[in-house]
Symmetry: C2
């Protein structure tokens, strides 16, 4: 029996993780749940899974929950950053599913690692912003960090049973997003509505835009680098519009191991929870005969400038990936609010990176400072 805490239980990763818990009640129990603002769904989840504790960001919501949840078996209710940290370090919890969105997920995830919890990691920022710190801490505590992203899950699955010493490179696949076929001038006129329609995956708005700019793939390269202890130049990207091959690992004999599957997050989430076993589910299986054709092409760095910026930030290292990520969050938000155009997203990130003097990061405080700086700078430019 594995005891789980789910940070971000009302998002799509959290909801899928809870589906896996209810399908396998003999294997998983929910000890902690946390949500942002989705009060009703959180209440439903509390009723169904009976966690020992819950956490929300805002105090008024926490107070409301305390009023509603009384009597024997009612969960403890925490709030704020402090509350998330308490939830992430609950006694008796084996695995923390880190599925909060954005930079806010970093601190509780880091605290969970320090408390010796295994991590099922969906929060990219944890690795992008603080990869070296997080991996060092995980190593020190003997903690496993298991990726929930389909690409990183594919890499992990393709490395299982093979020696890390034999790895030549990793090939991350990318659907290319909804604008793969557009010209530069067409891309400049893209609306938020269009950017939210991903061809293969159903995802939240932030990650849908990141997928349309391919920033998502750049962040994944940085994440892969730390998760799997690779050099930046060992990670290549291939556009694969069908999203069937989720990523590949090439070994020094020329053998390439790939993980494929229908594009459904259920598969990587369940693998992170049941690693190294594969848990039965009722998804319709992959039918390669029906799909017929898989294609691969090189990404166009001229049209997807965010990708190049991310690779550059990853190569520079230190505080730079945090600045990239912070500026990107602000830019995406501004684009979704119709404040800037689609092609101004890379402009804004590039300007912010150019204004930044990168420094080595030796603690979470420095990471958070770089994040704050980048957001402030990017916001200034949008307002200016």
């Amino acid at each position: 029996m594995k005891n789980l805490t789910i940070l971000g239980s009302t998002g799509s990763i959290g909801v899928n993780a809870l589906k896996i818990v209810s399908a396998n009640p003999d294997q998983y129990r929910v000890a902690g749940l946390s949500a942002g603002i989705n009060r009703d769904l959180l209440l439903e989840q509390i009723a169904q899974f009976g966690p020992a504790a819950v956490a929300v960001m805002e105090q008024p919501l926490a107070d409301e929950l305390k009023g509603l949840l009384t009597g024997p078996g009612a969960p403890e209710v925490y709030h704020g950053v402090e509350g998330f940290m308490r939830l992430a370090t609950l006694d008796g919890v084996d695995t923390v599913v880190s599925a909060m969105t954005g930079a806010a997920g970093l601190v509780p995830t880091y605290e969970a690692i320090r408390a010796g919890k295994d991590i099922a990691l969906a929060n990219k920022e944890t690795m992008v912003m603080a990869g070296p710190l997080v991996m060092e801490e995980a190593k020190k505590r003997g903690v496993s960090i298991l990726p929930v992203d389909s690409e990183h899950s594919a890499i992990l699955q393709s490395m299982q049973g093979h020696s890390r010493k034999d790895i030549k490179r990793v090939i991350l696949t990318a659907s290319g997003g909804p604008f793969r076929g557009l010209s530069l001038s067409e891309m400049a006129r893209v609306t938020p509505d269009q950017a939210l329609r991903h061809p293969n995956w159903s995802m939240g708005p932030r990650i849908s835009v990141d997928s349309a700019t391919m920033m998502n793939k750049g962040l994944e390269v940085i994440e892969a680098r730390w998760l799997f202890d690779l050099r930046m130049d060992q990670i290549d990207i291939l556009i694969h519009p069908q999203s069937i091959v989720h990523s590949m690992v090439e070994y020094r004999d020329g053998s390439v191991i790939a993980q494929m599957g229908v594009p459904d997050m259920m598969i990587p989430i369940s693998y992170a929870l049941s690693y190294p076993r594969h848990l039965y589910n009722s998804l319709i299986p992959l039918d390669l005969e029906k799909i017929g054709t898989l294609t691969f092409e090189r990404p166009d760095m001229g049209r997807f400038r965010c990708l190049g910026l991310a690779l550059q930030a990853g190569t520079v290292g230190g505080s730079m990936p945090t600045v990239l990520n912070g500026a990107n969050e602000i830019a995406v938000h501004a684009f979704l609010n119709n404040e800037i155009g689609f092609m101004e997203i890379p402009d804004l990130i590039e300007k912010t990176m150019q204004a930044h003097v990168p420094y080595p990061v030796e603690g979470i405080a420095e990471v958070m400072e770089a994040d704050r700086w980048a957001r402030e700078k990017a916001t200034e430019w949008i307002r200016g």
Copy 2:
């Protein structure tokens, strides 16, 4: 340091295995070599690798070799079935590369297993004719049987690090051979010359014809069944004309692990020798961007009747796969000699199978008897 004996050292598998030995002299040493009739190449190999013993089939060749190889360090020279058995069981040998062609490879391979040698298995007949006997013996002696076939190597690599309990099915890929696009009437007029031109792999004549009829794939299904302890209905076949995905394993969560690579036997041979490590080689790596497109389709059982016959023989079990294989060897030989047409190959195999009353096989003698019976029967029909 691994000591190797290579049964069939002058064939394409043997030659590639020796390339691996010369590229890695700190890891492999050749203790024994055997060949059929290629005297000159065998003499070269003896000079280069200095084995302790060699074996050939015919006594006159053995006598000639004895005359030529004298002085200190000259190898022992054995001949005949007895000679191959002595070579396969040499003291101090760790791994026997079983790369003789046809049914003749079974007995020495079986003896090598009984002597506790690990096997790098290229000889399909060993598994097709005597799978249960061979696997039982290997289990008893703690012997590893590592496939050299690209498909079975792909399956092994795709199973590494994953629990066998989680496997749902295995998908063997097939190029479809040179006649994939032909109609039934065009296939009836196919010549031996056409059948020998495989689109992706360069192979010997027997296996090229087996690939053109897809008998090869049927034999591989039977082989996979025993090697990986699967049911016949857990093994599917997909036509994949590019021969890049060498085979796949589907797990119960819907995850599919595949092994890919350029179609070069060097990769599976080296994996069988260095298992579970990947050994560096200088092959040009797989370039999916350049290949661009991978396609998959269902095999046409109406045109490739040999495939259906093989699946049927595998399902019946006992002596039937041996009869299938024996009749096929005779039929292919007759086709290559222009004695029968291409579409008469399945006719002849089917007639032989229909005339056979299958029985359980409990020893190698019974297997050899079924093989003899099938060859005699099939030969009778060709002469009649």
